[in-house]
Amino acid sequence: MRRRRLIKTSLGLTVGLTLANGLKACSSKPSSSDSAAAPDAAGKVSDAKLTMVQGGGFPNGLDLHRVGTNRPAYGISWAMYDRLMTFGTKELPDGSLSYDYTVLKPELAESWEMAEDGMSVTFNLRQDATFHDGAPVTANDVKWSYDRAVSIGGFPTFQMKAGALENPDQFEAVHDHTFRVKFLRPDKLTMIDMAVPIPVIINAELVKPHLTTEDPWGAEWLNNNDAGGGAYTLSEFKPNERITLTRFDDWKSGPLPQIKDVIVLNVPEAGNRRALLEKGDIDINYDLSEKDQKELAAMDKFAMVSTPIENCLYSVDMHSNPELKGKENPFADVKVRQAVAYAIPYDAIMDTALYGQAVPMYGTGSFEPDSVTWPQPTPYKTDLDMAKKLMAESGYPSGFETTIAFDMGTKEWAEPAVTLIQESLAEIGITASIEKVPNANFRSVLVEKSRPMIINNFGGWLNYPDYFFFYAYHGQDATFNGSSYKNPEMDKLIEGALASEPGEPEYEKDVEKFIGLAWQEMPRVPLVQPKLSVAMQPSVSGYQYWFHRQLDFRQLEKA
């Protein structure tokens, strides 16, 4: 019964599933819009040189499948490599641009068709597309690249699995320019998952001479060399210093980018990054701190865009198991957790730690979620009387001692926030000491779940509430379930939503229920939805928000 329903939806027949509509529209009109856009774009191509710096680290490799490749490296890979499909663009309420996860657009594949039975999709690759070395892109390259993504292990394989892409047998090079993906089971994430940064198309013939038995997928070679066919070629890679990309003028998978050279510089000090922008020595300062967001915007000298990060929350997670490290754990008491949620000085955190540059996620007063919108504000607001009352009713009327841990990598906002929380918790009898954990160790803290309270900043790539809850609240106890929260009722609701599609009544019911349950149980106290900000010189335009939170150089223009 359930199986039949799923098959139906994956055929794209369900009314209201915009994603499926998008797929249909694109596959029926092979790339006509792109060929129309091409002459326009060609007129804009220039010799402009763009320099940028970013917070959050410097790309540490060119192969995003390698173990240890960091998030900034995805931005470089995004420009150097093509994927089969990409997402559309939409305008946000504030007039800025964002990717649109409901619309899939052709990139290296100029069209695709779903099989009649809905159990496979066939991609028609562009006949004229070549890699940077001039070799034509064939279905064999695509097959090898997909095989690599599902076989190499680590994050790439994990991410592919999220879209039910698990096995090399699923991928078939039908003809030179025809590639087929067979589905293991219908899954609403499969098509989207082929447009995320992971399944890049690699020049297989170029890599093959460098394969060894120890390194069967050539990770070492690909990490330092360009085997792509994307809009930009690599012209200089100096690890930890700079990366220079140059436009690939024979790129066919989209309108040719306007900017010729992109230079990404490593400047570790945030103050120096800001000074460089203010002095006009760089064009873009990406991923700003909240303070810089506010102050650079106030200067009115730069083009600024701040976008709330989809499916992402800053939160305080409380360990909710009855025992922690063999000791009784006060946060297992739901009254204590609710008391904490009432004790947090939300407005002070918003003002002093986040400089007002985030979307508040608190204070509605109503415990009934009114929609499936995610994230949405919780009912809690700062109410110390209520908090004290709850503490008195709890098993710990005279309070207790605990610690709050936070990641040094997020200290710009987390440290003041934690200090304010510590002060406020003292009011309701909870004596908290602060533990700042070096960035590298924080992952272990998350994995071990060894701390009573932590500051969490989890965000999901794929913009579904069920996806967020699966990692943050589900009893599978994933890394990001910072409270180690386990509740069979919650699991059932999350699994129900995962198995259905947005727009279906079951889906809506489950989502509203699990959000409501989360508010009652409060294993994590959401604070705000953060924003991703960029400050650019006024000559730069075309910025678009992406879920992977990296710049797309192909869309930028510089006057």
Partner: protein, 282 residues
């Protein structure tokens, strides 16, 4: 008698006015270390978001930080912790270093060889990275910062004590003590070590400044004490990120006080050296 003492004192002071200036400054720091909490105008931990990031004013001489805490009060209260870290670290390396150095110098032979080898090994480390590694491995608590600072200072004390003991080992007064039936340990403790002490005091003073700088450097890397404890190094490190946006007071004042403290210890060390051994005057 008293007048000559007075005159002599005046002479000494006038000849070493820098040292006595430094000593006076040192006393001021000690006073703040003892009474800092009592005389601080505000609670160093109380936040007040309404007055965050205010420049120096009549009410807040050193301005306020990002949480609206009074920088002056934090700087005052931090004195105890910073001097405490430096004193404890130096005392620890002084004690252990003296013991090792005296043993190595007095016994010679295998004891000397083993101790010197270990100290050589320690010297071959890039010391700051070793301190970073120790704090990172053991966790960033005050105790571990003290321990790491003590470890990287150990070679200095051991070497100095060893060489000083070595030259005195066969001196007449040691021989005399030995002949009157004193044991090795007694000779070391009662006769050799007191003779080495004055030279060591110079190094202790110079080292105190370095210990403070070292702790500040660890803070800058993120391996300092836990917030919200006020500590000069952390305050400079955190304030540094605010310099470009114009809030210079958060880094400048703690930085200036930190510098003054180190400056004071260095001058004091120099001065002590002059007093103890004028030939070493440099």
């Amino acid at each position: 008698m008293t007048t000559t003492t007075f005159q002599h004192t005046r002479y000494v002071i006038s000849e070493n006015w820098i040292t006595f200036g430094a000593f006076a400054l040192f006393l001021v720091f000690v006073l703040f270390a003892i009474f800092g909490e009592a005389v601080a105008p505000y609670d160093p931990l109380a936040s007040n978001s309404a007055i965050a990031l205010q420049p120096p004013s009549l009410y807040h001489w050193f301005g306020t930080d990002q949480l609206g805490r009074d920088v002056l009060s934090r700087v005052m209260v931090a004195t105890r912790l910073d001097l405490g870290i430096a004193v404890m670290a130096v005392a620890l390396s002084f004690l252990v270093g003296s013991l090792l150095g005296t043993c190595a110098g007095y016994f010679g032979g295998w004891a000397d060889r083993i101790i010197s080898r270990c100290i050589d090994t320690l010297m071959a480390f890039p010391l700051f990275v070793l301190a970073m590694g120790l704090v990172a491995a053991l966790g960033n608590t005050v105790e571990n910062i003290i321990l790491a600072t003590a470890v990287i200072n150990l070679p200095l004390y051991t070497r100095v004590v060893r060489s000083e003991v070595l030259v005195r080992r066969d001196a007449g007064f040691v021989e005399a003590a030995r002949l009157t039936g004193n044991g090795d340990w007694r000779i070391m403790a009662k006769h050799l070590f007191p003779n080495v002490l004055p030279v060591m005091m110079v190094h202790v003073s110079l080292n105190m400044g370095w210990a403070i700088l070292n702790a500040a450097g660890l803070s800058f890397i993120g391996l300092g004490v836990q917030p919200p404890t006020p500590e000069w190094g952390i305050m400079v490190a955190e304030g540094a990120t605010y310099i470009v946006s114009g809030e210079w007071w958060m880094a400048l004042f703690p930085g200036a006080v930190l510098m003054l403290a180190v400056f004071c210890f260095n001058l004091l060390g120099d001065g002590l050296r002059d007093l103890i051994d004028p030939r070493m005057r440099t």
